[in-house]
Assembly symmetry: C2
Homo-oligomer: 249 residues x 2
DNA sequence: CGCAGTTTTGATGGACCTCAAAGACCGTGG
DNA sequence: CCACGGTCTTTGAGGTCCATCAAAACTGCG
């Protein structure tokens, strides 16, 4: 698949890489990094462009360097469900399988760091640090996929929106190495339609529930995309989650 | 937690273990197996009994040896969503985290093979075969969690039921080393309520849709629990899945 | 300005939930 | 043997939340 919107960039060094401390390579020793550098190359995609179609042969695995990608699945009649939201340092692909199980799309402008699959799989066996980090990341992904299942299966439209906002707020705070707090604000990286694909709703319902939360004073909007959270506690109380569940003081 | 319904069985050898070829230990060399045997013990639970509560401290990880366990999550007002269905050889727990993120319950009578967590984590670092197999299993779990998300987010009640029946039919056939085919039959291991927790429905809706599929001739019932599938193709066509999606001939 | 993409708002209907009751199945004990 | 209670399942009636269809408002851009 050659695509005018996709660029293969020049090779860059890992030294200044923004995700070097959290990506799949974060545990690597200098010599392991050097072997990874030999099999890596960068690709960039414009917002909205496809990265991989379900069923495609995959000749690489990759890390998200900057931007956001979505994993999604489509039913026979076109209904689609987003099943993964990939942020910087998240991993794309599956060692040991050569066709992609899901569509991958660039939600925002996106740059990924690709590793040729065959040599990557060899490294996975020969250098344990990569496999250990990948296991850790995959277990984290599995936990958040399971939280997401509860959102999809049991929450009301309003709770779904509040949950999504809380997730983005939390990730955004973590990115800035802060705790989520009152008065925080962030840019919504998703269109209403992408949010509806994430939450199993229609875009109209997403719009209505965002308006409802605004009218209830739980959030404030600055333009269509910028969200201000006056009280993080109030937002959490709208998610339906059992806040102190499992926490025994 | 001491519980009259939970028994700690005598230590058994790995030699006759029914899951030795697919569990987390399936790649181990004889000497690695011996080290695992030193830190293992069995537990059994009756159907319906809790294995772990969310938030509990976990002193072990485990493999399901026989029976079925469910992973589930509960919202503040009691709504529950099943987020994992653990069959023989599936793995319970998370190395590197010491409190359980979800409830684990025995759906049927259940026996698990537990490994003390600390020494297991040490083995994970020292013997690569365990970690490699665990990574593979976790990636598979993640893929099926994502399929499940599409079921929860986008399918109708009827499609959800058909999807669940197709999943059970497929797993059952795999267990008997057969292909799913016409005329196959199987026992439903789940109550209507457990199915509703799995699918994000009410138990009444589950019952109604099973009746509807029966009246439509897609399935036949022998008692409440035994299901006969006259045409596997017909069942698949009810799931809403894009059957040949991604398959390019 | 005019157009395309995104978002908001409104009206209506339907799929599924809620509440309610009765039927089926199974083990226990008289 | 049948009565009895408990659990699971089915069926019914009515209501509600969200999807669908439709159109208008807003935004950015040539």
């Amino acid at each position: 698949m050659t695509d005018t919107s996709m660029k293969i960039a020049d090779k860059k060094s890992c030294e200044n890489c923004p995700i070097q401390h959290s990506a799949v390579c974060s545990r690597c020793e200098p010599d392991e990094l050097r072997r990874l550098e030999e099999i890596k190359y960068y690709r960039s995609y414009e917002a909205g462009q496809p990265v991989i179609w379900a069923g495609d042969h995959m000749e690489f695995v990759a890390s998200v360097v900057s931007g956001i990608a979505a994993l999604s699945q489509t039913l026979e009649d076109g209904r689609t469900q987003m099943v993964g939201l990939l942020l910087p340092s998240d991993f794309i692909g599956r060692p040991g399988r050569d066709s992609a199980p899901f569509d991958v799309t660039a939600v925002t402008d996106l740059t990924i760091c690709c590793f040729r699959k065959k040599p990557f799989e060899a490294l996975l066996v020969s250098t344990p640090h990569i496999g250990q980090r990948l296991l850790e990341m995959t277990l984290d992904e599995l936990d958040s996929a399971r939280d997401w299942m509860t959102i999809l299966g049991r929450k009301t439209a309003r709770e779904k929106i509040a949950s999504l906002l809380a997730i983005i707020a939390r990730r955004n705070a973590a990115l800035n190495k802060e705790m989520p707090g009152n008065g925080m604000s962030f840019e919504l990286p998703l269109t209403r339609e992408a949010m509806s694909d994430y939450l199993g709703l229609t875009l109209e319902t997403v719009s209505r529930q965002i308006s409802a939360l605004r009218k209830a004073g739980v959030i404030e909007l600055d333009g269509k995309r910028r969200v201000v959270v006056p009280s993080y506690e109030a937002l959490l109380s709208e998610t339906g989650d059992d806040v102190d569940g499992g926490m025994i003081a």
